[in-house]
């Protein structure tokens, strides 16, 4: 039979075990969020320098840049209309976001091609206008 001090010790021990289990479950949940899918903003930032070129100050550009800033160690931004290939220097990945497909007089308006085939920086082109740029460069990923 347990004495009173022993009962207290058992109660304390039980609380400690319970608390430890809660901590362990909590820690596991944090780890599991990253490993089992989902974009966990509490995860350490990815060690990549990325730069987004779109139309600054638009809600769309702010949406992209805000999201990238949560996940990458360095995020730059610039205006697509004044983009030069040299602007991508110092970054690991460049994102070119042409925003909306423009149709004028029932014809798709082709975007200004801001990169040449000699351009070697890793780049993500976005949306329909991105596909048009791919098309102009003669890529398989061009607009169908």
């Amino acid at each position: 039979m347990l004495t009173n001090p022993q009962r207290m010790s058992m109660a304390t021990l039980t609380r400690c075990i319970g608390f430890s289990l809660m901590l362990a479950v909590g820690a596991f949940s944090v780890l599991a969020t990253s490993a089992a899918g989902g974009v966990d903003t509490a995860s350490p930032k990815i060690e990549l320098r990325v730069i987004y070129f779109g139309h600054p100050q638009t809600p769309r550009a702010k949406d992209f840049v805000g999201f990238l800033e949560k996940h990458f160690s360095k995020v730059g931004q610039g205006d697509l209309d004044t983009f030069r290939e040299s602007d991508a220097a110092g970054y690991d990945v460049t994102l070119l976001d042409y925003d909306e497909l423009k149709v004028v007089n029932n014809r798709i308006q082709m975007p200004k091609t801001v990169v040449s085939k000699q351009y070697i920086r890793p780049t993500v082109t976005i949306g329909a206008m991105g596909a048009l740029v791919s098309q102009q460069l003669g890529f398989q990923t061009g607009y169908l």
């Binding site: 990253s34 990549l48 909306e100 890793p122 082109t125 990923t141 169908l144």
Partner: protein, 145 residues
Amino acid sequence: MSEAAQGELPKHEIFSKPFKVEPVYETWETPSNYRRYPGGDRLPDKLKVWRVQQLAPGQKTRMVAPYGAVAKPWKPSEAPGTEILVAGYNLGKMDGAVAVGRERNFLQWGFSAPPSKMTEAGRAFFLNSVCYIAKFPGKGSASAK
């Protein structure tokens, strides 16, 4: 293109690094436009898709602005330096048209929505795409199309 990728995820690091992409699969009607292309008559009535973005809540197959784009499927084995990453469920082109693909140092993300309108799986896939293309600084040369 609609707001969904089509088919199950192939085995590729872009769907697991650094974030695991966990699509929520749905079954949508096979678009009638697919039937116009060779082999279209042999497609099932419904196809497995997963949403990458959702600009129009509740809408399934509708195309919404800003519009995305797909590319004509190709054989990566015949075009060095290219990869087909996912097909896009589309309402104008053929089955298997490419929504996200790579050619040398360019990754074309054919979906159109900003991150706040992407699904959780879409955001993970987008981040992974940025990480993945970083591995291709000017490798190879453009293929002849």
